[in-house]
């Protein structure tokens, strides 16, 4: 709590007014294309705004993610992800709507960090909307009835409406989360639709890499090419490359004697 108070971006009214002036100026420099996508901005102004509000990222991480047991590397990554969120917030913030930037930025930073943590948790990459649904399910069920609810408790027999998401989305979430709870390589892979496929079948076989396959093909072709040569040519070729050091004695036909 002390850390949060220390990191809390306490700005004077003068600072806030300056920020708002900068945001208004930045908002005016934005150029959008026909689809409403931002194509051009004043990058110098954007960087200045990011530097002025960088403390918000630290504050958000300290407030929402400090209770998690994270390694130093993950924390550093989280800070970077938070900064990406901050840039998104700066780009999308509209000062004319009357909200404070800190309110808007906090959501973007939090979302960027949550997404990163969820992505770290699984081997399978899932779309952002599935991750959001995953958060939504956990949050709803923990808050209402089942405080000890985990994603593992997702039940096929229950209607998807129970969780407030579609059936397909539940399948996606289960597939993504399954990588966390693998007990055996012989467990069936992702869903029943894969038939008899086990997790072992999904692991790439390094022994059968593409390179090795090419070498095998080349060796087979070389064998055939070698066999097409006359014996004398073949022996000299092999001797020249030091593949063999001696040759068997030539068979002499009785008719030759």
């Amino acid at each position: 709590m002390q850390l949060i108070q220390t990191l809390s971006p306490q700005k004077t009214k003068h600072d806030t007014d300056d920020d708002m002036i900068l945001f208004r100026r930045y908002h005016e420099t934005k150029v959008f294309n026909e689809d409403g996508k931002l194509i051009k901005t004043d990058l110098k102004l954007r960087n200045e705004l990011a530097l002025r509000n960088q403390k918000l990222v630290l504050f958000t991480i300290a407030k929402f993610f400090s209770h998690k047991q994270l390694t130093k590397e993950v924390k550093e990554d989280l800070y970077q992800e938070g900064n990406i969120g901050l840039f998104n917030a700066i780009d999308n913030y509209n000062p004319t709507m009357g909200f404070k930037f800190s309110t808007y930025c906090c959501w973007w930073t939090k979302q960027a960090c949550s997404n990163y943590l969820l992505e770290q948790g699984t081997e399978l990459t899932v779309p952002a909307h599935v991750r959001t649904a995953q958060n939504k399910i956990t949050k709803n069920l923990r808050a209402s009835k089942q405080p000890e609810f985990t994603m593992r408790d997702l039940d096929n027999s229950l209607a998807p409406e129970t969780y407030g998401v579609t059936e397909k989305m539940i399948e996606c979430i289960k597939a993504a989360m399954k990588t966390k709870w693998v007990h055996s390589l012989y467990e069936p892979a992702w869903s029943a639709s894969d038939g008899d496929m086990t997790l072992e079948d999904t692991i790439p076989d390094k022994a059968l890499s593409e390179e090795k396959f090419d070498i095998t093909l080349l060796t087979t072709a070389a064998k055939r090419a070698l066999s097409s040569l006359s014996e004398r040519e073949r022996l000299i070729l092999l001797l020249r490359y030091n593949v063999i050091q001696a040759i068997p004695a030539k068979e002499v036909n009785s008719s030759d004697c």
């Binding site: 087979t220 070698l226 040519e233 070729l237 001797l239 490359y241 001696a246």
Partner: protein, 94 residues
């Protein structure tokens, strides 16, 4: 071979020289001198490369084969391929 005649083959780092090859071949019942050994080797290389290109499905010209015969790197890798290809055959001494 005069000084102005372009070379048609390269000296191999780990290979056996043509005089030794000629001796081994003569001992094995194929009498020849070092020049014959060299000529047969060049012919064998030409045939081998042509056959290999056919197997792999590449069109190859005589000029390409000439260039290949002068490529030191190709000879080094070809040696490795031949070692692998010769494993388990009647001439294998490995």
């Amino acid at each position: 071979m005069t000084a102005n005649t372009p070379k048609t083959y390269v000296v191999l780092e780990d290979g056996i020289d043509f005089r030794t090859i000629a001796k081994v071949m003569t001992k094995g019942g194929y009498p020849m001198n070092h020049a014959t050994a060299r000529n047969v080797w060049i012919m064998a290389m030409r045939n081998f490369i042509t056959e290999l290109a056919d197997e792999v499905g590449i069109d190859i010209t005589e000029d390409t084969i000439d260039n290949m015969l002068l490529d030191q790197e190709l000879h080094s890798s070809l040696g490795e391929v031949l070692v692998t290809a010769n494993r388990g055959t009647e001439f294998s001494t490995q």
